[in-house]
Amino acid sequence: MRIEIKDLQFSYPAGVQALDNISLIIESGEQVAIVGQNGAGKTTLVRHFNGLLQPTSGEIKIGDWNTRKQSVAKLASRIGYVFQNPDEQLFSRNVKTEVAFGPKNLGYSNEQVEALINEALEMTELSNETETNPYDLSPTWRKMVAIASIIAMDTPIVIFDEPTTGQDAANIARIANVIKTLRERGKTVITITHDIDFCAENFERVIAMAKGKILLDGKANEILGQEEILATTYVDPPQLTRLGKKLGLKSTIINEAEFLNSI
């Protein structure tokens, strides 16, 4: 499902302008990472997609819906949003109830709800924890519960806000796997991240933001090598990109396979 943003301006009530004239199209099935320093407007931007924020001026269309004309509840059928901190999102007594909440509220039949829950739990490796209280799980696994509860809604668009923060390598690999599966199913995935190596390894398109504006937007290997421009929004190129540059490799390297092929 296509996201179309036209001339978006947003100021917080105190007058701080957080988004400055943003126009952007994200096509159906794209995998997009949004990077940039804190305060660049990344979260403010994506919170416009599901109607949590309304533009001061400009328009946002999710498919054929204008976000000004739809409720947050209705937009939730098209956009799933995984919060940075799972504890801001989880409230049920056990994992299964938590994961069931979204699809039930979207009006799926009981059989469909059951199928969606099982699929989401399988993708997040939580099938054996259905009866567990989310707060008896480690923060790492609570993150996976939060992800499962959003995936189970089967929305065409899924947004992750800083999915790798505080996670160990094993869980980062698990999250990357979930994103890969969503891509294979044709979902649009939009991720805000500071983890630039994770960004390089899992996303085709990168948008770099600074001070409420879009600084760079393009294919990952066109964007991630632009060291000077990225530095203005305090983003370092990925480790292997830096290594490739130092070795004088001609093309911008963003992952292991590319690196091993070019040396």
């Binding site: 320093q37 804190n38 305060g39 480690s138 923060p139 790492t140 923060t165 505080g166 996670q167 160990d168 390598a169 094993a170 869980n171 500071h194 190596d197 305090y234 983003v235 370092d236 990925p238 480790q239 292997l240 830096r242 290594l243 130092k246 070795l247 292991e256 690196f259 091993l260 040396i263």
Partner: protein, 279 residues
Amino acid sequence: MAIVNLQNVTYKYPLTDSPALQNINLQVKEGEFLAVIGPNGAGKSTLCYTLAGFVPHFFKGELTGTVEVASQESSKSNLSEWVLNVGLAFQNPFNQISGAKFTVFEEIAFGLENTGVPRDEMKVRVEDAMKLTEISDLADRSPYSLSGGQQQRVALTSILVMQPKVLVLDEPTSQMDPIGTREVFGVIRTMAEKGMTVVLVEHKVEWIANFADRVVALHEGQIILDGKPREVLTSDALLDKGFGISRYTSVARKAKEQGLWNKADLPITLGEAVEGFRK
């Protein structure tokens, strides 16, 4: 001379069956910068709590073995004495900032107030500590109006002002953006260079590779490796256990299998990777 000395330390949280720490033997020399790595659930935070005396004084459960800092035994001291031995900076500064104070200056003075330091001395120590962490300009701000990186530096400063013998940091940058991370590691590095004993729990192996004197790898409550950063961070024993491994190390390991890396040692820093791949 070892300032930290853990002998056969095993600890079980209340109502749990398996120990969070198992037979830990660990000595840290005065002035050493030790990094601790491990996947989530390996026992890293529990180790921090044990060093800081929260185990056994706050968390009950079952502790065996001995925990000594500066030749004092933690189970025989009380927490108010122990804060002068070990200062612990929490993973999340929100959990540490008292909430009782309106300005950064007062927040940093809080610990000194509670240990009965005279007013004149307190003022000097707070000012010195703020200079060290470069937050003097934040003195009159509310701790809650600051960015994450600034808050983390305030939290760190409020520990440093106590002048503990050992500084323990539990993933001090886990919630931080790259600027905040750089700021906080800058302070830690300064402290280490000034000769403070530092124990740092951290996932960001690139920083460890560049700064730590020694690395301990924890897995399922046990120390599985203990040595120089290179030995530990390039060890095959870390593979498939959820440890973070630098991209430089990983790519060189693969290159080695294909005959594209000819050095005996795998790299842990960008500089080493550049040098090794150039030849």
